[in-house]
Amino acid sequence: MTFLTLFDMTIALLYFLGALFFLGGILGSTHFLKRCSLITTLIAFLLHTIDLVLKVSQSPEFFITQGQFYFSLLAWVLLMIYLVLWWRLKLQFLALTASPLALMLFCSSMAINTDTLSIPSELSLLWFGLHIAALFVSIALLAMAFGAGLCYIYVDKKIKHKIKLNKLQRDLPALTSFDQVNHWAVSIGFPLFTVGVLSGFLWAGFTWGEIFSFDPKEILSLAIWFVFAYLFHQRLALGWKGRKPAKMASWLFILSLVSFLIINLYLPTHHSFQP
């Protein structure tokens, strides 16, 4: 076990360095540091992948009943989405959201101590995969929309109020690039979120015989789903762009985080990580 702990520490350290390098790169506007950040993050991500595979292959039944595992997995998904967006849209600045968030989640996965989850015995890999993967990817996308949204709102306000952009802000991508992130997050994130929530309800239906049991997690998820659906409709049907979707996606992300961190850790729910 000590080897794995050491391994985890290395990954956390690399994530930390990646986030730090990127911050330095942005502040000093040096390309070199940004490059370093990308490389360290990439290495950390690979190690993280190995780490997850090692743990799960060791004893799958044990690890998927551990709360820590989900923290680590969410961090991994977040980085994967960041790397995909970086690769497809060349939006490196998203590292500002992705790296610190992943670092936080990964560190929490090492720090927190949770009781064994009661995973229903009827667990099938299909349901598990659908439920977790779909939801985690959509949360990661929302995280990206959150970072891009904050940047959008800030720069938009400056241009609207005719306040001069300083060097740092002029080096940021254009407003339309931030909006593009939002577009991806909404148009891909919402269907995935729907799949995730739906599979959860169906699973609950098979396992406990009732689809909706007024669990706080279920209530919040449903609320998020409705807001998300509204945003999805406005964005794709009416063509909403800019400030409003940016704001809404940011709130959605905050709600998701509340759902993942606060409800799972402190409230009585099926998903509880509570010891």
Partner: protein, 440 residues
Amino acid sequence: MQKYIQLIGLNHRTAPLEIREVFALNEVSPKQLDLWQENCPVKELIILSTCNRVELLTISQGHDTPIEWMLRSWARLCSHEPEALRPYIYILNHKEAVEHIFSVASSLDSMVLGEPQILGQMKDSYRLCVEQGTTGPILNRLMHKAFSVAKRIRTETKISQNAVSISFAAVELAKNIFGNLAPKKVMLIGAGEMAELAASHLINNGIQQLFVTNRTYARAVEIASHFQGQAIPFTEIYNQLPKADIIISSTGSNQTLINIKDMRQIIKKRKYKPMFFIDIAVPRDIDPDINQLDNIYIYDIDDLKGVVEENLEQRREEAEIAKKIINEEVTAFEGWLRSLSLKPTIIDLLNYGENLAQKELNKTLKNLGPDLSPETRQAIEQLAFSLSKKLLHYPITFLKRKSQEEESANYFTSLIRRVFDLDNEPIPPEAHTLKKQKKD
């Protein structure tokens, strides 16, 4: 014999445009000035002529001042009397001239502080003079130094950052909103110098299409054909507006053309794709309240002027830093100039040899160990020092002999300094690539 660096010239501060036009020396070869006679003190010459300045930079030798020669031949070339020229010119000597050339190259002396064109113009003028063979070791060195100073200032200060013209400021803002301007469509409402300038900057950024509209349709067609755009009738504005991403407006209209109520409809029709309005007209054509709508940005002439003024202020602050760099470089250049005379070069050469001998001696003596007899030690020392002196004997006598010849003295001192690397000059990065190119 002592050489003098002198510069005479006029620029936008000392002479009005009519005078600058009359005395312009564009595309004039330096050989056309009759400064190349036996008794003229001018030895090296560079002409720099742009729309804002005409300057003659010379190296002269002898007791005569070359100023009168230069004035006379310059005025004659422009078919005028020297007296017509005299009130507008400035004369700079030696250190001042060097400082001035460095400032001009770094665009500290330009009408628009920090503008980049001047360096290119200087390089062209210099190339012409090199081809004509009117430059020598001092001006070559001075100009190369000026170019590297300009480069240093550009990288070390923020002097050429941020747009300082209204149309450039507008384009920069457009980039902050849209990023890539290539797929964007621009609409030009009304005509005017500034609006057309902004349009041409946008076209240089590769926009996809330009619509032009004007109260008189014929004028719209005229402008459209000039920019290869598409003319649309004035009444069609509302139908075409949803297509446009960037709108430049500058009509002489007293009423607002576009109001917030219409814009609500238009932006909805566009599916909320952002629009950027540049309203250069006075009184304004576009209701400034549309700025309240999401995804619509509007800058009027005062807003843009505000941006430009802030940027200019920043350049002025940067110019102060640049001046310090120039002072440093002027001092370094003066040092080099002084070393061009014979005596310091001989001393430098001898020092170089002695240092080398000492270094090698230390190495050898260390290798031979402590058991060396004092006689052997002395012999080795003597060998090293006399070898270095003998080796340098011929270069030194060569220099002494050449220093008698006025023409080539500077050239050979400068050459020897370079051969023995007495100034610790860095090797230019392109040195080896040039060699490779020649081989190909």
